[in-house]
Amino acid sequence: MTSFDRFLGADKYIADDALLASVNAAIALERPLLVRGEPGTGKTMLARAIAETLGKRLVGWHVKSTTSATEGLYSYDVVQRLNDSRFPEDAGRDVSDIRAYIKMGVLGQAFQADEQVVLLIDEIDKADIEFPNDLLRELDEMAFSIPELDETITARHRPITIITSNAEKELPTAFLRRCVFHYIEFPDRERIQKIVDAHLPDLNKELVEAAILRFYGLRKVDALKKKPSTSELLDWLVVLSRAGVDPEDIASRMPFIGTLIKREKDLEILAQRAKHGFGVS
C-alpha cells in the first residue's frame, strides 16, 4: 500500500466513514474533493479540520458572485503601471519590470508554497456559471501560465484541494469528472449528539437533549423555507445555557427562537402552527 497522509477525523469534526473514504481518496489520488450539502453541514469546516489534523497551512479562496477565475491565479495591475509610467518619480518601483505589477492570487500562492497546503475553494457555485470551467486546467495539472511574463507556474507540491458548493447551480460535467465527489447528509440525531458533545462538552445533558429534540421537530416542519442547521443549533445551545433556561421550558415554549429561525415568514408560520395547536415537536 502506498503511504500518504491519512485523515482520520478531528477532535471537533465528527466525520462518518463515507466522508473519510472520500477525503482519503482525494488525498491519495491527488484530485480535488468536491463537497456538497445543505448549508450548515460543515463543508467549510472540513477543510479547516483536514488542515489542522495534517498540520498543514490552510489557504482559503472565498468565491463571490463577481469572482473570476484569473483573480485566483494572479492579477496584473495595468492601471497602476500606466499611472506609474506617467509619474515615475512617485512610483517607488521599476516601471519597466512587469513583475513588480504582478500579484499572485490564492491559487498562485498555494502553488508556490514551499510545502503542501490545504487549498479551500469555498462556495464555487456562487460565481459565474463558467467559473469552474475556467479552472479546469489549473486544477488538473496544478499549473497555469502568465502570458505577461511568458512563464508557467507549476505547483511545487500539489495542494490538497477542497471545493465546496451549495448545489445552487449545476456545475459543468467536465469539471465534475475531475473531482472526487462527496455529499454531506444532514447528521442524524446520534451524530448531532456527538457533534454537540465535541463542541460544547460542559453543557447540561438534559438541556441538550431537550434542545435537540426540539431542533429535529423544527426541521420536520416542511413549510419552513430555511430549516435550522447544525451551526445554528450550536449557537442556540450556547444562548440557552448562558441564559440559564430550564430544560422544561424548551419543551413548552421556545426561548430565543431567533437564533434558529431567521426568516420572518418562517416565524409567522411557526406562530400560526402554535396557535392551531399543532406544536412543533
Binding site: M1, T2, D17, A18, A21, S22, N24, A25, A26, A28, L29, R31, L34, R36, V78, V79, L82, S85, R86, A167, E168, K169, E170, T173, L176, R177, R178, C179, V180, F181, H182, Y183
Partner: protein
C-alpha cells in the same frame, strides 16, 4: 474484474467516463479499498458526481455485489410479511458462510418456503437466528427490507438516496435553478466604467487618461406562463403552484406573466378563473416580442372534440361556442406568433400515447415536468428560433 459494476452503472444511466474508471482502478491498485464497505464509499466518490445519482449507484452496486436484489413480486410479498412482524428475541448465531454460498442458499430456501414465517432458525422471516430475513441476530446474512441491525453488505439495499433523484420530485428551488438558465443578458443597464476599454482608449491617446463607459448587463427575457387549470390538472396543482412560485421569485426576468386556460385555450386567456377576468388571445399576441418565452403547463389530455372541434368545455361545466378556430388551430396560431414556446406535461411520459397529447406534442416541443425535463425545455427555449 469490476467490468460488471461498470456495466451495471451504465445500465442505470450513470455515465462513467474512461477517465474516472481509470482513476477508480488506480485507487484500488493503490490499496485504498480494503473491504466491500470501503469499495462502496470509494467507488461512489470517484464514479458518481451528484447526489441525484447516488440511488442509481446503490442499485448498480447492489446488483453487482450484494444480492439483496430480489425479483419484485417476491420481495414485495416478503416485505409485507416483514412489515407487520413482531420482533422476537433470539441468540446471536454466527453463520460462517461466504457470501455467494449464503446468497445461493437464500434463493433456494425462498423456493422451498411456501408461507410467512416469524422466529425460528431456518425460514426467511423476522426475528430468529436464520441468516435470512429482517431484525434477526445472525451476524452475517442477507437482510430483506430496510432497518434492523445494519450489516455492511446490505447498505446499498436501503436505497436511502432515492429522494435525491432529479428525475422524480422537485421543489421550488430546483425549478428556480432550472429557470435561471433562461436569462439572457444584454447590455442595456445603467452606464458604468469599462476598465478594458478605458485602458485601450488611454493607450491610443498617448497615455492621457481617457475614460470609456459601457452599459451594465441586463436580462431582457419576458417569461409567460400558461397554465392549464382545473379538471384533470387538479392532482398536479401543487407542482404547478411550485413552478408558479419559482417563476415569480427568480430575479432578473424583465417580466413574468401568467395566464390560465382550461384544457386548451380558445379565443381567450384568463387572468384568473374566479372572477372570469380574461383577454382575447389576439390582444395578447399583439404584445409579444422576440424576447418573450412561453412555457405551457398542462397534461394535454382531453376529449378529442375539445381539441379538434368547434366547441370546448369551460371550467364552469358549460360549453362555450366560438365561431372560427378550433383549439388546435389556436395553439398553432400562438406557436406561429411565438416560436419560443415549450409545453411541460406533469403526466409521466408513459401516458403520452394519447391522441390529444401527441397532437399538442406535434405543435409544441413537449417535456415532462421534472427537473431534467425543465432543463431540457430551457435548452430548447434558449436555442435560436
Amino acid at each position: 474484474m469490476f467490468d460488471l459494476l461498470l456495466f451495471n452503472l451504465r445500465s442505470q444511466s450513470v455515465k462513467v467516463g474512461v477517465g474516472e474508471w481509470l482513476v477508480f482502478l488506480e485507487g484500488i491498485k493503490k490499496g485504498l479499498v480494503v473491504d466491500l464497505a470501503g469499495l462502496y464509499h470509494f467507488g461512489r466518490a470517484i464514479l458518481v458526481q451528484s447526489e441525484s445519482q447516488f440511488d442509481a449507484w446503490d442499485l448498480a452496486f447492489d446488483a453487482t455485489f450484494a444480492g439483496v436484489e430480489l425479483p419484485p413480486e417476491l420481495s414485495e410479498a416478503l416485505l409485507s410479511w416483514l412489515a407487520d412482524a413482531e420482533r422476537t428475541e433470539g441468540e446471536q448465531v454466527d453463520v460462517d458462510l461466504d457470501f455467494d454460498e449464503l446468497r445461493r442458499q437464500f434463493y433456494e430456501r425462498l423456493k422451498e418456503q411456501k408461507e410467512r414465517h416469524d422466529g425460528g432458525n431456518h425460514w426467511v422471516g423476522t426475528g430468529g437466528t436464520s441468516p435470512y430475513g429482517n431484525s434477526g441476530r445472525a451476524s452475517r446474512g442477507i437482510r430483506v427490507g430496510p432497518g434492523g441491525q445494519r450489516s455492511a453488505l446490505a447498505v446499498a439495499g436501503e436505497r436511502r438516496w432515492a429522494n435525491y433523484r432529479t428525475d422524480g420530485q422537485l421543489d421550488v428551488r430546483d425549478f428556480q435553478v432550472a429557470l435561471r438558465a433562461l436569462r439572457k443578458l444584454t447590455r442595456e443597464g445603467p452606464e458604468e466604467i469599462d476598465i478594458d476599454a478605458t485602458i485601450d482608449a488611454t493607450a491610443n491617446n498617448g497615455g492621457d487618461i481617457d475614460l470609456a463607459f459601457s452599459r451594465a448587463k441586463q436580462n431582457r427575457v419576458h417569461l409567460v406562463l400558461l397554465l392549464d387549470t382545473g379538471g384533470s390538472m387538479d392532482p398536479h396543482a401543487r407542482l404547478v403552484t411550485q413552478l408558479f412560485t419559482a417563476a415569480q421569485e427568480v430575479k432578473g426576468f424583465k417580466s413574468v406573466t401568467t395566464w390560465h386556460f382550461h384544457n386548451v385555450p380558445y379565443g381567450f386567456l384568463y387572468e384568473d378563473f374566479a372572477n372570469r377576468r380574461r383577454r382575447s388571445i389576439e390582444d395578447i399576441l399583439g404584445e409579444m416580442s422576440p424576447s418573450h418565452r412561453l412555457i405551457w403547463v398542462g397534461d394535454a389530455s382531453m376529449a378529442p372534440w375539445e381539441l379538434f372541434g368547434q366547441h370546448h368545455a369551460n371550467p364552469w361545466g358549460t360549453r362555450d361556442q366560438a365561431p372560427g378556430l378550433s383549439g388546435v388551430q389556436w395553439l398553432k396560431r400562438i406557436r406561429e406568433q411565438c416560436p419560443a414556446s415549450v409545453w411541460l406535461n406533469p403526466d409521466p411520459v408513459r401516458f403520452w400515447a394519447h391522441p390529444t397529447v401527441s397532437a399538442i406534442g406535434g405543435i409544441f416541443p413537449m417535456f415532462p415536468l421534472h427537473v431534467d425535463g425543465i432543463r431540457d425545455a430551457v435548452t430548447a427555449l434558449r436555442a435560436p428560433v
